[in-house]
């Protein structure tokens, strides 16, 4: 479904050159009132990479994710997306956001629109596609996620898993260069987690660059190229999944893993 160039081999891509860096974060800080939630985060995400971020609640991992498309405005630091520092004044944030898909924990499908309209809205309103093109695209995406029969349903009539798959399709309709997932399965009933994770697995296999905040350790271990552990607004440890889960070094990470894997 991605028609641009970066759908090549992407499973081993942690040490790519600079030209492949899609997002670079430099010393990102964010405070709410006097409480600092992000205390200087720096990292690079390369094209095709799947980055999983784990950590206890309140550690700042969601704030970090939401900073990347500026839903949270950073207090200081830089975010360089495709060569542009998007934290600067004068940057067209809406233009940037069109290239950064986002999937929310609570799905956030537009309640007043049908499934098809949810998918078509942004491409049409932003002049990316005509109505006919958008409708065709929407139906393709719905076929792909196996929900074409729900095209004219309203979100309130769908299960959580269906909603989240449609939310992913809605993001894909914009052909984003990177997708942010903010705990995409945390609000789902257990039997629906699988369908959403499967779709994400497919996306990863097709070469989509993904940053996933998650509690699904299995998914992180199996799909991610790199796993990051957040605590107290700092990256405590990051590594390839085998090392990260097999041989954790940070004491807090050990504690955390012992807790969640027990």
């Amino acid at each position: 479904m991605k028609d641009n160039t970066e759908s090549k081999g992407m499973l081993e891509n942690t040490n790519k050159g600079n030209e492949n860096v899609l997002v670079e974060v430099r010393d990102l800080r964010k405070s709410f009132d006097n409480h600092e939630v992000l205390c200087g985060i720096s990292t690079k995400i390369t094209k095709g990479e799947v980055l999983a971020i784990i950590g206890p609640s309140g550690c700042g991992k969601s704030t970090f994710l939401r900073s990347i498309n500026l839903l949270e405005e950073p207090t200081s630091g830089q975010i360089i997306f495709e060569g542009t520092d998007i934290t600067q004044n004068g940057v067209d944030v809406n233009q940037i956001r069109q290239k950064i898909g986002m999937v929310f924990q609570q799905f956030n499908l537009f309640a007043n629109k049908t499934v098809k309209e949810n998918i078509m809205l942004a491409p049409v309103k932003l002049g990316r596609m005509t109505k006919q093109e958008a409708e065709k695209k929407a139906m393709e995406l719905l076929e792909r996620i196996g929900l074409p029969q729900k095209a004219d349903a309203y979100p309130a009539m769908l299960s959580g898993g269906q909603k989240q798959r449609i939310a992913i399709a809605r993001s894909l309709a914009m052909n984003p260069d990177v997708m942010l997932f903010d705990e995409p399965t945390s609000a789902l009933d257990p039997e629906m987690v699988g369908e959403v994770l499967n779709l994400m697995r497919q996306l990863a296999a097709e070469g989509m660059t993904m940053i996933v905040v998650t509690h699904e350790m299995g998914f992180a271990r199996e799909v991610a190229n790199r796993v990051m552990f957040f605590h107290d607004g700092v990256i405590q440890e990051e590594n390839k999944p085998e090392e990260f889960f097999g041989n954790p070094k940070n004491s807090r990470l050990k504690e955390f893993l012992a807790g969640v894997l027990a």
Binding site: N69, L71, N94, Q95, I96, R97, Q98, K99, I100, G101, M102, F104, Q106, N108, L109, F110, A111, N112, K113, T114, L121, A122, K125, L126, Y154, P155, A156, M157, A167, R170, S171, M174
Partner: protein, 503 residues
């Protein structure tokens, strides 16, 4: 539908019950007034702002416990007298005759209270117009025109109606005189076939004919006439107005054009009220002289005011709400937001009644502006404040995630607002909006205070013609009820059609 039928049924029961209870009124031991000497200790009714009011004030609060009841119209006082709420009414002789003629159970005491002169009031500084009118009055007195008008309205039974004044065919190039009056003061000014006629109207028409000017008549409350003339809303006041010292302080008067007497009306102990059957009553109140037209015209005005005020309310209300929420979310529009807050505070902090008076008498004091426009503006701007807060609460009630989802796709703030947030907000606030518009409709009933003939005033005019409160007011109430029910049904239908996206 069942609910509506039940309501209608209840209204009918209420109506019948009211009719029964009206006719069963017991004759309580009331004070009998047979002369001026009997006045102390009684309940005296007067029309507010008249000279009868001024004279009767001398009795108020004396050791006998005299009570003064002031009514907006003479007809209201007469009605109160008929219902035993007061013991007598002090009022000008000619209207008194008209009242007694229509109400056989009342009579005028032969002892006259006071004799006085009627004159036209003119703004103090407008001496030019005053001199012109004085000149015309002198001519009319000389050639007998004024005498004929007097005979036609206040003469003996043989003379009455025999000397109608005919509007002359003259060139009217010298401008317009706007005459303020209170058309419930027969025979000086009253409604006949939906037109204001009477002694003062003929007299002023004769004056205008002499001066080569056009005459325009505005009906308003009696106690509003002087302020209307002062503020320039009207050029003259002609309403059977007596010259007295209090009035001379604030307004100028022309020479007197006729004399009148203040008399006392009491219940006639020999005659009991004749009762009309319900059908006769309905005929008298609505069919005779096409009186239903007062209601019909009033209804049209009420609907025009309500519909356009709702539109203003919606447009401005949404704009204000969007400015306010956008400020809260993004910090935009700092100055505009401040202005909106002041607007909301002022509009919601003062009665709409005062607002409409201010718009009419203060803001548009010097302009001859259509009253319906004033009412639309006043009620529209008032409603906008309430709509704004309703819409704002609706926007705030939409889940923040909806907003974030829109923005995360790259949609702009206005796109997110119009495509996602507002449609959901509107659905949530529809009941509250419907409520606001029902309130607005009912509030328009105060339009009568700027002399606008709305539905309520239509009923009141009929009441002043027939001395019957029950049927005209119940009719007015039923019409309001019907509109509100229609409005509610419309809102409910809209609500249902917007609810499709819920389970």
């Amino acid at each position: 539908m069942k609910k509506q039928r039940l309501l209608l049924f209840m209204m009918l029961c209420f109506l019948l019950f009211g009719l029964c209870s009206c006719s069963k009124k017991s004759e309580g031991e009331k004070m009998r007034v047979e002369g001026i000497d009997d006045l102390p200790g009684t309940k005296i009714g007067v029309q507010i702002g008249t000279t009868g009011d001024t004279y009767a004030q001398d009795y108020e609060g004396d050791e006998e416990g005299t009570v003064l009841e002031k009514y907006n119209k003479g007809a209201d006082a007469i009605q109160a007298l008929k219902q035993d709420k007061i013991d007598c009414v002090i009022i000008d002789q000619e209207p008194a005759k008209a009242f007694v003629e229509k109400n056989k159970e009342l009579m005028i005491l032969s002892e006259e209270f006071v004799t006085e002169n009627y004159a036209v009031c003119v703004a103090k500084e407008n001496t030019e117009l005053k001199e012109k009118i004085n000149g015309a009055l002198a001519q009319l007195e000389e050639d007998g025109t004024l005498d004929n008008i007097r005979k036609n309205y206040t003469g003996t039974d043989e003379e009455k109606g025999k000397f109608p004044y005919k509007k002359q065919d003259v060139k009217r190039s010298n401008g317009t005189i706007i005459m303020a009056t209170n058309a419930s003061f027969k025979p000086y000014e009253y409604y006949e076939n939906n037109e204001i006629v009477g002694f003062d109207v003929d007299m002023m028409q004769a004056v205008c004919d002499r001066l080569g000017m056009k005459l325009k008549i505005q009906d308003m409350e009696f106690d509003a006439i002087i302020s209307a003339v002062q503020s320039g809303k009207a050029d003259v006041g002609a309403a059977g107005m007596t010259v007295n010292e209090d009035r001379l302080k604030s307004i100028g008067f022309t020479d007197s054009y006729t004399t009148s007497k203040q008399v006392i009306i009491v219940r006639n102990p020999e005659v009991t009220a004749q009762k009309l059957s319900l059908s006769e009553n309905i005929k008298e109140n609505f069919i005779t002289d096409g009186r239903w037209k007062y209601l019909a015209k009033g209804l049209v005005n009420t609907l025009i005011i309500t519909i356009f005020a709702i539109m203003i309310g919606i447009v401005f209300g949404f704009l204000i709400a969007i400015v306010r929420t956008s400020h809260d979310k993004n910090g935009n529009f700092r100055i505009l937001n401040g202005l909106c807050k002041i607007y909301l505070t002022v509009i919601r902090g003062t009665p709409v009644m005062v607002q409409i008076l201010i718009i009419y008498y203060v803001i548009f004091a010097a302009v001859d502006i259509n009253k319906i426009l004033v009412a639309i503006l006043a009620f529209g701007l008032n409603s906008a404040a309430y709509v704004a807060e309703i819409v704002r609460s609706g926007i705030m009630a939409v889940d923040e995630g909806q907003f974030e989802a829109g923005r995360s796709l790259g949609l702009t703030y206005p796109m997110t607002m119009t495509n996602i947030i507002l449609p959901q907000a509107v659905k949530n606030i529809l009941p509250a909006l419907g409520n606001e518009f029902i309130n607005l409709l009912k509030e328009t009933s105060i339009s009568g205070y700027i002399g606008l003939a709305d539905l309520t005033r239509g009923g009141v005019i009929i009441q002043s013609l027939t001395y019957e409160a029950f049927l005209p007011l119940i009719a007015v109430a039923l019409i309001y009820l019907a509109i509100v029910m229609a409005l509610t049904a419309g809102v409910n239908k809209l609500e249902r059609s917007l609810r499709t996206n819920e389970r």
